[in-house]
């Protein structure tokens, strides 16, 4: 059974390399995980020996199939627990992450399968991220950053692409939550900010915020 620490390494590598499925550098990983590069090198050599990563000196690291399987399993657990916390225990969007980070390390296949069923086999978590099934398969859908919408377009909020507590708090306070309909009132070219209409209110969103809200065009 993998230690919690090793599980966290796998998850971090997975998150950093999933966009491009490219090798990531030890420095990148060190920054992301808040440990020193020397510790990364150390651990990568151990994980290589466990066939969890493909690591070559000075060439960075990438997950093996086994490592990816384990990482996706953690993502599955994390996201199912997030659904539980929000739907059953009324946690807010911004509160769930810290707790789910702990819960994802509970080892029990029966627990997670039963939890999935108890929650009604959800396919998306409270941030709009897909929940992998037992085989690691996740659903996909067309979605865009709100920032890409043009003046006058309408859309529905599907999720977010940034898991920052204050960002999520801001969205909660602005009531910009999943399912909400929005209309782009103005797109300002001078700073790429946008003004949207949501909940019958005009709300200004910075470029960064608009980039990390994911929507479906209506």
């Amino acid at each position: 059974m993998l230690s919690i620490i090793i599980e966290n390494y796998l998850k971090s590598i997975f998150h950093l390399s999933q966009n491009e499925n490219n090798r990531i550098t030890t420095t990148e990983l060190a920054k992301y995980m808040n440990v020193k590069s020397a510790s990364i090198t150390d651990m990568m050599q151990r994980l290589e020996g466990m066939d969890l990563v493909d690591y070559k000196k000075y060439q960075g690291v990438i997950l093996t199939n086994l490592g990816r399987k384990r990482a996706i399993d953690l993502v599955r657990k994390h996201r199912l627990w997030e659904v539980f916390l929000v739907e059953k225990l009324q946690f807010t969007w911004s509160e769930v992450h810290v707790v789910a980070e702990q819960l994802e390390h509970i080892h029990s296949e029966k627990l997670i399968d039963r939890l999935e069923h108890f929650l009604g086999n959800p396919k998306w978590d409270p941030h709009g991220d897909p929940i992998p099934d037992k085989e690691g398969t996740m659903e996909t859908r067309e979605q865009f950053p709100l920032a890409e919408l043009l003046k006058g377009e309408t859309a529905t909020i599907l999720g977010v692409s940034l898991d920052d507590e204050n960002f999520l708090k801001f969205l909660e306070e602005s009531e910009l939550t999943i399912g909400k309909k929005i209309l782009v009132n103005t797109a300002f070219s001078f700073d790429d900010s946008v003004q949207i209409l949501a909940n019958k209110q005009l709300i200004n969103l910075s470029k960064k915020v608009a980039q990390h809200i994911l929507v479906r065009k209506d």
Copy 2:
């Protein structure tokens, strides 16, 4: 924040010393936890320094108020999670313990308070053990080992006093679960076993089994 390992030490000391509230020896604790006595001595010196236990060389160990508070908090979490597993996820009596042993180490006061409310503020866990409230107070009630009943007496099963997986499996298979009514048909003096009537069937119980089933006399 206490490590999982330290939390397990506190819980073990608590369980071993709660009957008599007496000091326990390092050897007792070592056997219970499946580690060597030397490791216990080592750890006790650390815990003494953290004001979690009162430990004196060659005189055994007992929890301080602080240590007991922490241990009861773990018991609270363990038992609430057991209720969740049984009531919401349909785990059986004998399956819950291993998973709850992991879940009890999740750190989040909000999580456990919300869970308690979600479960309807239960006062007893699936084994019939009392669930401490936030202040550490638990309910009490009159209960006896089934072994103490006399021929002809009727009773209701309240719980068990042994957390052994095979013992619990046996009870599940015999449908001797919480709330079941029983009647003592015969008490055999030669081996202290008893024959009871439950679920319209005659069931023979060894002395050990009868000692670890807790009942209320009707």
